[in-house]
């Protein structure tokens, strides 16, 4: 811990990291007491999100200057504390999650009220708890701390997935909880205890802790336990929970199942690769090469599923979910190249995908709120009625495909450079093919929305939603929704032009490793 102070020059950085967990917790408590005063409750959410972002941002100068502020909270097991430490990758994740929480809170106001959702207090409360857990994951200083907050994140998002309380939601909830907890307890915990046993520590350290403690097939097996143990990273075949979780209200899908939860998974994998194994060690071992193929397969297979959904003109959120599965594996693939450049690409892709995908979900939710449309076939001509929404959607797709001027281009560039540096032509091939596949399943939706004519009103809807009176004479979504998705779309483009902060953190991550 450096002597520097972070927030307003008075609070040490370690304490700020703790505050980043406490602020949303306190926010949750306040939200819980404001059940009957919705306006005040939503204000509380927004203020909490804003304060949290300021705290996280205040850590930036110190971390960029090379500081690694930390704080020990408790010591549940002898020699294994619950310990927070801020390092570049974690800060990057925390910045993304906390900044997008502000926007999502704004969006939620329009969405939850527009759809007259029930149990809104529980919704905002659990949301704040989920963010607190995500902050804990971001700043976790050792594996046990990471595991603790990882489980808390699963538990706090469970009521959000089952929010509607229908049979379908309950079934999805079972799958969600079942898959995420069984992989984490069955594989991740085993991997952590194995690590503790051979390395004598579970701390995250630059250069890793396993070098010299495991070799050969054991290293490959341990990596397998870690990768599939982080079920939140949704590498096939443990991806099924993600499409199922789409029954949740759209703000949940947007922030949690495109950003906080899924990114917690890939973030964990990057962190384990960099700080537990060490990239050099992974590159030296031959038994760890399988990860490129596992993630490459997931990238392509998930894209093909998405393509099939497009062909059947199915549910848009489902398509987005499979797109997320595919994009998450980009991060894993980049990590699996075990080259510093690709690792920087992995960190950047966590950011780039977050802004792009949240925009896409916001747009999907915006259409649902305004027009009750959920299926792709209903999207014909909707771009003319909702130009802002579908404009933002188009920006999001650019980022997914990896075209300039969207953030996705930068991260993909680094990953590709890394693949060339590692001379891994399979990875290069996967990246190229998947780019084409992304274009193939996102392009037609944008085309339909802007250049095809709307279906005649007489034809009944085939999809879910009720045909509310006047739903065909609709225009744009409620103002908070439009503002929110415009902001995220703008950010997607701005990151392309001003990638300084993410880039600096990604470089700090890679430099810390060497």
């Amino acid at each position: 811990m450096t002597g520097e102070t972070a927030f307003l020059g008075v609070v040490p950085g370690g304490v700020t990291a703790l505050l980043a967990i406490l602020v949303p917790l306190v926010g949750a408590l306040i939200i819980g007491t404001l059940t009957h005063r919705p306006n005040l409750r939503e204000t509380a959410t927004l203020v909490t999100a804003g304060v949290l972002f300021c705290f996280v941002l205040s850590l930036l100068p110190e971390v960029l200057a090379g500081g690694r502020p930390g704080i020990t909270l408790a010591e549940p097991l002898p020699g294994i504390p619950i310990y927070l430490e801020v390092e570049p990758l974690g800060l990057l994740f925390a910045l993304v999650a906390s900044s997008l929480w502000i926007v999502t809170s704004l969006y939620s106001i329009g969405y939850m009220r527009g759809n007259q959702e029930k149990h809104q207090t529980r919704f905002y409360l659990c949301f704040a708890l989920a963010i607190a857990s995500a902050m804990g994951i971001a700043f976790a200083g050792n594996l046990v701390t990471l595991f603790t907050f990882y489980e808390l994140l699963t538990l706090s998002t469970y009521p959000l997935v089952t929010h509607k309380g229908t049979q379908e939601a309950m079934k999805a909830g079972r799958l969600y909880l079942g898959l995420l907890i069984s992989t984490s307890v069955g594989l991740l915990l085993l991997a952590i205890i194995w690590t503790a046993q051979v390395a004598g520590t579970v701390d995250f350290r630059p250069g890793g802790i396993l070098d010299g403690n495991v070799t050969g097939a054991a290293a490959g097996l341990l990596l397998l336990l870690y990768t599939y143990g982080m079920g939140k990273a949704a590498i096939m075949p443990v991806h099924r929970w993600l499409p199922a979780a789409m029954v949740a209200p759209t703000p949940v899908s947007a922030l949690l199942h495109a950003v906080a939860v899924v990114k917690a998974g890939v973030f964990g994998i990057v962190k384990v690769a960099v700080y537990v194994f060490g990239l050099d060690f992974l590159a030296r071992e031959s038994a760890t090469g399988w990860l490129v193929y596992a993630s490459g397969f997931t990238i392509l297979a998930a894209s093909i599923v998405a393509l099939r959904i497009l062909k059947n003109q199915g549910n848009l959120k489902r398509l987005l979910a499979y797109s997320t599965v595919s994009q998450l594996s980009y991060v894993v693939l980049a990590t699996a190249l075990y080259s510093p450049l690709a690792a920087a690409g992995a960190a950047l892709h966590i950011v780039a995908h977050a802004f792009g995908k949240i925009t896409l979900f916001f747009a999907a939710g915006s259409v649902y709120t305004t027009a009750r449309k959920t299926e792709i076939r209903q999207f014909r001509g909707i771009g003319r009625r909702m130009p802002w929404t579908m404009g933002a959607f188009a920006v999001g797709t650019l980022s997914m495909i990896g075209l300039p001027p969207a953030a996705g281009f930068i991260s993909k560039w680094y990953v590709l450079l890394g693949a060339f540096q590692a001379e891994h032509m399979v990875a290069v091939g996967v990246l190229v093919i998947s780019t084409l596949l992304n274009a193939a399943y996102f392009g037609p939706i944008v085309y339909m929305a802007f250049f095809q004519d709307e279906e005649p009103a007489a034809q009944p809807y085939l999809g879910g939603g009720n045909d509310l009176p006047g739903s065909h004479g609709h225009g744009e979504a409620p103002l908070p929704v439009v503002v929110a998705l415009t902001i995220t779309a703008a950010m997607t483009i701005l990151i392309f032009f001003f990638p300084d902060v993410p880039l600096a953190l990604a470089q700090a991550l890679v430099e810390g490793v060497r």
């Binding site: 069984s182 085993l190 205890i193």
Partner: protein, 490 residues
């Protein structure tokens, strides 16, 4: 006075028990029980501190030295178990007041408190004594009073359950006394410390047979698979208070008995190298964990569900012990404490449901999440601990257990432990889904349980979180006890 703490530990509940049965004033018996249990807890804590400071305490009854008189011996292991048993007693008695009034009735209540105190006496006695025959006597005291306690259940099936336990328990006790008799024939002593010294030089078939009798008898008492048949019925039909008490103490003391007899009396070398006890216990423990967890999933009655879960949890303790390493033994002993906390809380939460709703079937829990928020929140929190979520005691147990298995390179065992946790998710979540996602259908106006039921329940829940966040005390004591048993302590 402080010198006589070992005998006071047993004598206080023993003396108060008959008085409690005779008191006619309403609530008088309860007050006496509260007094006796809290005094016991105080004594147990003082004893633990004395042992931590000054090492093993040896107390000769009536001043008669060991081979002739009975000796009480308080070392790290027994002091630790005494605190657990007395602690559970002290938490359960305040809870009993309302629950017993509703389930057993005012008329029989004094008898219940009296039997409860006798049972406590027996359990504390087993733990504190250094004499094998005295151990058998206390075992009978605790068992017979337990039969009576179970038979007081509100349902007539309780009688059948108590009868079944009576038959099985008596067989177990008979096996134990036969084993003790054989040891006495071969060595001429009943004192544990003496036995430990003489047995290695005696050896022979009789000692091996005695070993086998004791192993089977104790396994019956601790409901080790497949000798667990008595337990589910007994836990299901006993009054809620009794179930909470027995689930957190009786099997724990039986586990203590196992540790005491096989580690101290027979010695590790004989038990694990000559007799290969671990080759029997380990597979049985694994079977207990897996089969009982699966059976729990199919239960419709929550008390029975938790009873099967207890059989599985006993499996975890035995598993740790059968690894016969310091880490394994630490895991087994720490789970002794941790399981007492979480199972106690779970049974007490279910008891609160019984109090308000009058049934403990899963359907009866439908929609209770909104009607009894505190009770169900306690259930969920303790249930998460059972699953082994971090920041709860269950996680600490799992950590040590898996660590011990990995240390020995027993990967399948490690996986089995984790599979057991996954099965726990399924059976805990059955109740959670009923309470939070189904509609309440009852015609009665059901409200939150009274404070006197909630408070003790939450004390255990909070304790299970506290010792999950900071296990230095429990893990420290359990480790010291394990090192003492393995003979690596100073």
């Amino acid at each position: 006075m402080l010198n006589h703490l070992p005998i006071l530990q047993v004598i206080v509940p023993l003396m108060v028990a008959p008085i409690a049965a005779l008191v006619r004033r309403r609530g008088g018996a309860w007050l006496l029980a509260v007094f006796a249990t809290w005094t016991s807890l105080g004594i147990a804590i003082l004893l633990l501190r004395q042992v931590l400071d000054g090492g093993t305490i040896i107390y000769s009854l009536g001043g008669w030295a060991a081979p002739w008189g009975i000796e009480y011996r308080v070392d790290m292991v027994s002091a630790y178990v005494l605190v657990i048993v007395a602690g559970v007693g002290a938490i359960v008695t305040p809870y009993a007041l309302m629950s017993v009034r509703r389930e057993v009735g005012v008329k029989q209540a004094p008898l219940l408190y009296s039997a409860l105190l006798l049972c406590l006496t027996g359990l504390l006695g087993i733990t504190i004594t250094g004499d094998v025959f005295n151990l058998f006597v206390f075992l009978e005291i605790s068992s017979i009073s337990a039969y009576a306690l179970i038979a007081m259940g509100p349902d007539r099936r309780a009688l059948h359950a108590a009868y079944k336990y009576l038959i099985m328990g008596s067989i177990g006790a008979t096996f134990i006394v036969i084993g003790i008799g054989m040891l006495y024939i071969m060595t001429g002593t009943l004192n544990m410390a003496d036995l430990a010294v003489r047995l290695p030089s005696v050896g022979g078939r009789t000692v091996s047979v005695a070993f086998a009798f004791l192993a089977v008898g104790i396994s019956l008492k601790l409901a080790l698979f497949p000798l667990h048949a008595w337990l589910p019925d007994a836990y299901t039909y006993a009054p809620s208070t009794v179930t909470a008490f027995l689930a957190s103490t009786a099997t724990k003391v039986a586990v203590y008995m196992l540790v005491r007899v096989f580690f101290t009396v027979f010695g590790i070398a004989f038990s694990f190298q000559t007799m290969n006890l671990d080759r029997v216990l380990l597979p049985l423990a694994l079977l207990a964990i897996l089969s009982a967890s699966v059976t729990a999933i199919y239960q419709k009655n929550v008390k029975r569900l938790l009873a099967y879960s207890s059989v599985a949890q006993v499996g975890y303790m035995i598993l740790g012990i059968s690894l016969a390493s310091v880490t394994g033994l630490t895991a087994g002993l720490i789970h002794l404490f941790n399981h007492a906390l979480m199972k106690g809380a779970l049974f007490m939460a279910v008891g609160a449901v019984m109090y308000q709703v009058g049934s403990v079937r899963i359907e009866a829990m439908n929609g209770l999440g909104r009607r009894m928020p505190w009770t169900m929140a306690a259930f969920v929190a303790a249930g998460l601990s059972l699953i082994g979520i971090p920041l709860t005691v269950g996680f600490i147990s799992k950590w040590f257990l898996v660590l011990a298995a990995v240390e020995k390179g027993m990967w399948l065992v490690a996986v089995a432990v984790l599979v057991g946790s996954l099965l726990a998710i399924v059976y805990v979540w059955k109740v959670v889904e009923a309470a939070y996602f189904r509609q309440y259908v009852g015609s009665l106006e059901v409200r939150e349980a009274p404070l006197s039921l909630l408070l003790p329940t939450w004390v255990l829940v909070l304790a299970s979180v506290y010792f999950g966040v900071d296990a230095s005390l429990t893990a420290g004591v359990a480790r010291m006890a394990a090192e003492f048993l393995m003979g690596v302590a100073p």
